[in-house]
């Protein structure tokens, strides 16, 4: 059944981040709750009105219960769905359906991690397939490296093109006061950084930082009475094609094809209607695959699209914060894609503002391209 009747029924009314940095002193549950409270303040809604709680983090076994416990609330709808970095993007689709059906009225979606303070390595609950365990593949780095290798082989994608994803991210980060790595980078810098898992180099990889983010959703009808412009959820889609690298059906295409198609169909829009894209960039190759699989260019032409430009001033601005590569990356980056999309559509982005922003796409990846979730957001103009 088409999901078009749900398009625009629910809006994002609050968005906030908290605890982004290298040396956060507060706990994961505290910065997650702080982000939720700040997002509620942003919306002009009270904590007591929250009756839907959606959360994910590798730190707790029942993340939505941890968040509700910290906030001191008892929700009617609870969701800790974990498909890696795509989780909170998928939560948007779930929240839309919960609100549109009357199951809850005000939903909070949140994520937090302090993995920089906790050893500076990716904190993950990922398990290992017995048939992969003896072989020493770095999770998730070697998986992405093998995707890069195959894409370069099949389509002639170059190392320079992939390096340009980091360079574009550094140019965006320079415009973002919240970015932790605003220093400029060149293609030569990226290609001179150490190989980690060939052909993937250190500067193809995201930062490891602390941070939290949250958004608040309610019905669009109610959103119109709130103080900030309602950012409507026009389309949502989700999927996963595998869990383990061994079972990837393709090393050059993702289930973003399907999640994107579902989101476009629900919205009645296509890639040509998007004024920007926020595509999860834990590794440079993810941006290239997102551009292809979400229809911004044809399969195999992502390298050429990156050559044409995805940085400030480009036809399709991509990852306007500087992304996981240069802004911050506390693990599952999805929430920061959503917060930025909301800020862009409300024209709150200062120097990095996309002036034409009326409609934008968010795409989350989880694991090694396993989880996929797409959200299309828009504002009335």
């Amino acid at each position: 059944m088409t999901q078009g009747h749900l398009s625009g029924q629910v809006s994002v009314v609050g968005a906030a981040t908290a605890g982004i940095g290298w040396d956060t002193r507060n706990s994961v549950s505290e910065i997650m709750a702080e982000a939720a409270n700040k997002a509620l303040d942003d919306a002009g809604l009270r904590l007591a009105e929250v009756d839907g709680v959606f959360a994910v983090t590798p730190y707790y076994w029942m993340p939505s219960a941890t968040l509700a416990d910290q906030l001191g609330i008892q929700p009617k709808v609870t969701d800790s769905t974990n498909i890696g970095g795509a989780s909170v993007v998928a939560h948007v689709g779930h929240a839309v359906r919960a609100i549109a059906s009357g199951q809850c009225e005000v939903a909070v979606i949140a994520y937090a991690s302090t993995q920089r303070s906790d050893g500076g390595k990716l904190v993950t609950g990922a398990d290992v397939l017995p048939y992969e365990r003896p072989y020493g593949a770095l999770f998730p780095i070697s998986g992405y490296a093998m995707v890069m290798q195959r894409h370069m082989h099949d389509f002639g994608t170059t190392r320079e093109q992939l390096a340009k994803v980091t360079v574009a991210a550094s140019r965006w980060a320079a415009l973002n006061p919240e970015a932790l790595k605003p220093e400029p980078l060149t293609v030569a810098d990226v290609l001179a950084s150490p190989l980690v898992s060939d052909p993937l180099r250190k500067l193809d990889i995201c930062l490891v930082t602390n941070g939290a983010g949250a958004i608040v959703l309610t019905s669009t009808e109610r959103a119109k009475k709130l103080r900030k412009p309602a950012v409507s959820v026009l389309g949502t889609g989700e999927s996963h094609s595998h869990c383990y690298v061994t079972n990837m059906r393709s090393f050059t295409a993702t289930a973003g094809v399907e999640s994107g198609k579902a989101a476009y169909e629900m919205a009645g829009l296509g890639p040509e209607d998007m004024d920007f894209a926020q595509i999860y960039d834990a590794f440079t190759i993810m941006v290239l695959l997102g551009l292809e699989d979400l229809g911004f260019c044809k399969k195999g032409e992502g390298g050429g699209m990156i050559d044409a430009g995805i940085g400030p001033g480009s036809r399709l601005p991509v990852n306007t914060t500087g992304g996981g590569l240069r802004y911050c990356h506390p693990g599952m980056f999805g929430i920061f894609l959503l917060v930025e999309a909301v800020r862009q559509l409300r024209k709150e982005c200062g120097k990095r503002q996309v002036e034409t922003a009326r409609c934008g796409l968010v795409h989350g990846f989880g694991g090694v391209l396993a989880g996929n979730a797409t959200v299309i957001l828009g504002v009335d103009t």
């Binding site: 397939l129 017995p130 048939y131 992969e132 365990r133 003896p134 072989y135 020493g136 593949a137 770095l138 070697s142 490296a145 093998m146 995707v147 290798q149 195959r150 082989h153 150490p194 190989l195 980690v196 898992s197 060939d198 052909p199 993937l200 383990y244 690298v245 061994t246 079972n247 090393f251």
Partner: protein
């Protein structure tokens, strides 16, 4: 971990003086795969109901759901679908092996498995190159399938 043969484990640790390779949990549908490897045989699961091979081993066929799952002896020959050379590792065993190759091998039987490519200069690794299986003995009466560049004429 099914490390029942402790005497054997100790012998390997002493003789090689390096930490052991991480080993699979064999308490699952793939147990026979690891045991056959110790006899120099590469097994691939095949459904007798729909006649299709699959990977990884499961109690039921992921194509048709049948429980009629059997094994076939693979030729041990395959093609590199993609690969990476790992340059950094925090694992005690793999730290001693850097740099090493991890690859996805498309077996001639139509399934794609992860392995290491060994005994092959890293600079000759290519997508599409032909490889053949070899086995590394491991504690507990199992062996780990590895691959190397196929010898000429194989």
């Amino acid at each position: 971990m099914a490390h029942t043969d402790c005497g054997h484990l100790e012998q390997i640790l002493v003789s090689e003086n390096i930490p052991p390779r991480p080993l699979p949990d064999t308490r699952n549908a793939g147990e026979k795969f690891w045991i056959a490897a110790a006899e120099g045989v590469l097994l691939v699961p095949k459904c007798t109901a729909c006649s299709r091979t699959f990977w990884h081993p499961r109690p039921r066929c992921p194509h048709c759901g049948s429980t009629s799952v059997d094994w076939i002896k693979a030729t041990g020959n395959g093609t590199v679908h993609t690969f990476t050379v790992v340059r950094q590792s925090g694992d005690p065993y793999f730290k001693t092996k850097l740099p090493y190759a991890v690859a996805m091998i498309e077996l001639d039987e139509g399934v794609r498995i992860m392995s290491n490519i060994v005994d092959t200069p890293l600079e000759v690794l290519r997508i599409g190159m032909r490889v053949e299986v070899l086995f590394e003995a491991a504690p507990g009466g199992i062996a780990i399938p590895l691959f190397r560049a196929q010898s000429r004429g194989a």
